[in-house]
């Protein structure tokens, strides 16, 4: 086990900056998820840590060792690849044993460890099969087995579940969590799926265009996004963003646009210490789909009713996603199933305690949160 520290890590491919000045500290035994849209540099970071790519500038530390110049084989890491990368000409036993064979461990120990690993992953009866004879989930297990058998300092997982069907993915996600709990090894997990990131990660690093946006626990990412990108990326359906002007009404802050006027409760306004600087200016207001409800009567003092026209509806059984328009702006609401029809106008209750505010120029949150790492 070791902690992983990235210092000003930068990777350029020609003119393209794939990873830009990333600083990240992964604690010993932590499960850190790197998440972001494709091309955000998350896989590149993993490959830099593994040594499969050379660092352009910056440093990588594994424990107390700077590993920039070390060969992949000398870094004592294991990686699970997106397409598993099992050796097609070897059977499952040899696939799992290969890393130990390369390290010239005694045959009896290799055998014992392969059987133990196979047992842990439930593939003991497949040891003689070739990878081509396995199902997707079984291949995935072999790939994981190949990584964990070596008991490396750090596991790197590159979208390991993206080739599996939804149900199996859920199942394997739980298994990976269980494996992490059992082995307590530092894991760095790359995914583009924010749900996977939120459910799996002890902390999540959100990346965009090679730059680190925010590193935090899933809950804090959801509750205190540092900028518009993180706010929009974390949460499903994504947060709604509406342009509004900050005004004062009866000594209280209020968010105003042609379509609505929302008083900001005192305790919520306190979250934004520099709000006064934005008086008379436009800001970006964020509200999550789940922080609104279709209601006829306001539920609390901090609730406000707005008229919204329904465009279309997605019924998901236990809940309903309503796509509507508030004035000219699109709005997505997640609510309990109700009788609503397209083109109908309904009243929307907005929980003003859950309003987020962002600077329109910098896209940064008006909350004072820092990009911790």
């Amino acid at each position: 086990m070791a902690n992983v520290v990235l210092k000003h890590l930068t990777k350029r491919f020609g003119n393209l900056v794939a990873v830009n000045d990333v600083n990240l500290a992964v604690q010993e035994g932590e499960l850190m998820v790197l998440v972001g849209p494709s091309g955000c540099g998350k896989t590149t970071i993993l490959r830099l840590i593994s040594g499969l790519e050379e660092v352009s500038s910056g440093e990588i530390w594994l424990g107390d060792r700077r590993v920039n110049e070390l060969n992949p084989k000398d870094r004592d890491l294991a990686m699970v690849f997106q397409n598993y990368a099992l050796y097609p000409h070897m059977n499952v036993y040899d696939n799992i044993a290969f890393g130990l064979q390369m390290r010239r461990l005694p045959r009896s120990e290799i055998e014992a460890r392969v059987h133990r690993t196979a047992h842990l992953l439930g593939i003991s009866d497949k040891l003689k099969n070739r990878p081509s004879e396995l199902s997707g989930g079984q291949r995935q297990r072999v790939a994981v087995g190949r990584a964990i058998i070596r008991e490396p300092k750090v596991f790197l997982l590159d979208e390991p579940l993206s080739n599996l069907d939804a149900q199996l993915r859920l199942h394997m996600r739980a298994e990976l969590q269980a494996i992490h709990r059992q082995l307590k090894t530092t894991m760095i997990y790359v995914t583009h799926d924010q749900v996977e990131a939120m459910t799996l990660g002890q902390r999540v690093a959100v990346l965009r265009d090679g730059e680190l946006q925010q590193v935090d626990t899933p809950q804090r990412l959801y509750q205190h996004p540092t900028n518009v990108f993180v706010a929009g990326f974390i949460g499903n359906p994504a947060m709604n963003f509406l342009a509004a002007e900050v005004v004062l009404r009866d000594q209280h802050f209020c968010l105003k646009s042609t379509a609505f006027s929302l008083p900001l409760p005192e305790n919520r306004a306190a979250y934004f210490p520099k709000l006064r600087d934005h008086l008379g200016h436009k800001v970006l207001m964020g509200i999550r789909p789940e922080d609104m409800k279709i209601e006829l009567v306001a539920q609390s003092n901090n609730g406000v009713l707005l008229d919204v026209r329904v465009e279309f509806i997605e019924l998901l059984g236990s809940e309903m996603i309503v796509h509507g328009r508030l004035g000219e702006e699109k709005l997505v609401v997640r609510t309990e199933p109700r009788e609503v029809n397209p083109d109908e106008i309904f009243q929307l209750w907005v929980n003003t305690d859950k309003i987020y505010l962002f600077d329109r120029e910098t896209n940064r949150s008006l909350e004072t949160v820092s990009v911790s790492s």
């Binding site: 593994s50 499969l52 060969n71 992949p72 084989k73 890491l77 294991a78 990686m79 690849f81 397409n83 990368a85 099992l86 050796y87 097609p88 000409h89 290969f98 890393g99 390369m102 390290r103 081509s132 190949r146 070596r150």
Partner: protein
């Protein structure tokens, strides 16, 4: 009902017609290709209408022919090994490392195969004369490798291109250096391609007459050279010549039998799965 039968009958006759045409063409091809060969083998085994192995037994009495056969085997074997070595290492390098002028290099190497051999023979002869390689085994072998490499280098590169990079990366993380990687992962996966390369190199060398006729200078005479020699006799001993041709066919046939299992995958399959 009857209409349906009529339709079905028509359908069958059409299919049968197509099948007949296909088999006819293939049969014709087979006769043209194998007819003369089989006739030749047969003729080499006949003496006035009776079966005999005499001409083959006569090889024993011909020390020159024995040395020709030895030369052929030696040259072809070393050429095969050399070509496989150059093509796999070169192909791997060209597949995995981006070198400046890689495409230009590949195109240039391959385009040398667009010219008739004779165009290459003359400059090789002149260069090898300078290097005192004419009349040596090394000279003939190097010349044969030169003939074999352009095509096989491409085959090797294409084959290595098909081996997913992740496999190498996984192996590197598993603790392989470049050489172990090549030996344990890449070469086993590229085995069908390498079998193809080996067979190609062997047949090029084994069947070559042109290069040998220029470079041998009576020192490295191979079996095809011997064949030509006998053909130029005043009264060519046809049965004996046919025995030599039959002999010439045996090693490539054996070689093919040995590697044909891989050929199917080499020509139609993929490296992984």
């Amino acid at each position: 009902m009857s209409a349906m039968f009529a339709r079905r009958a028509k359908f069958f006759s059409k299919r049968t017609g197509v099948a007949l045409a296909v088999y006819f063409c293939l049969g014709l091809y087979f006769i043209l290709l194998w007819g003369p060969i089989l006739w030749g083998v047969n003729a080499s085994l006949q003496e006035n209408g009776t079966f005999t192995l005499q001409r083959y037994l006569d090889f024993e009495k011909d020390p020159k022919l024995k040395s020709n056969l030895q030369n052929s085997l030696l040259v072809a074997t070393v050429t095969t090994l050399g070509t496989v070595l150059v093509a796999t290492l070169g192909g791997y390098g060209l597949s995995r490392f981006s070198l400046p002028g890689r495409t230009a290099l590949l195109t240039t190497v391959f385009s040398s195969r667009m010219f008739p051999f004779i165009l290459i023979v003359i400059p090789i002869f002149l260069v090898f004369s300078q290097l005192s390689l004419v009349g040596t085994y090394l000279g003939v072998i190097l010349a044969h490798i030169t003939l074999g490499v352009p095509f096989t280098l491409w085959v090797a590169k294409a084959y290595f291109d098909n081996v997913p990079r992740e496999l190498e990366e996984a192996a590197m993380l598993d603790g392989c250096g470049r050489w172990t990687l090549l030996r344990k992962i890449i070469l086993p996966l590229a085995a069908p391609g390498i079998a193809l390369i080996a067979f190609y190199a062997f047949t090029i060398s084994w069947g070559d007459y042109l290069m040998v006729s220029w470079l041998s200078q009576e020192h490295v005479n191979t079996l095809p050279f011997k064949l030509q020699e006998r053909l130029q006799e005043r009264y060519p001993p046809w049965e004996s010549i046919l025995a030599i041709t039959t002999l010439l066919m045996i090693p490539p046939t054996l070689f093919f039998a040995l590697v044909q299992r891989w050929f199917v995958t080499a020509l139609g399959g993929r490296a992984t799965r």
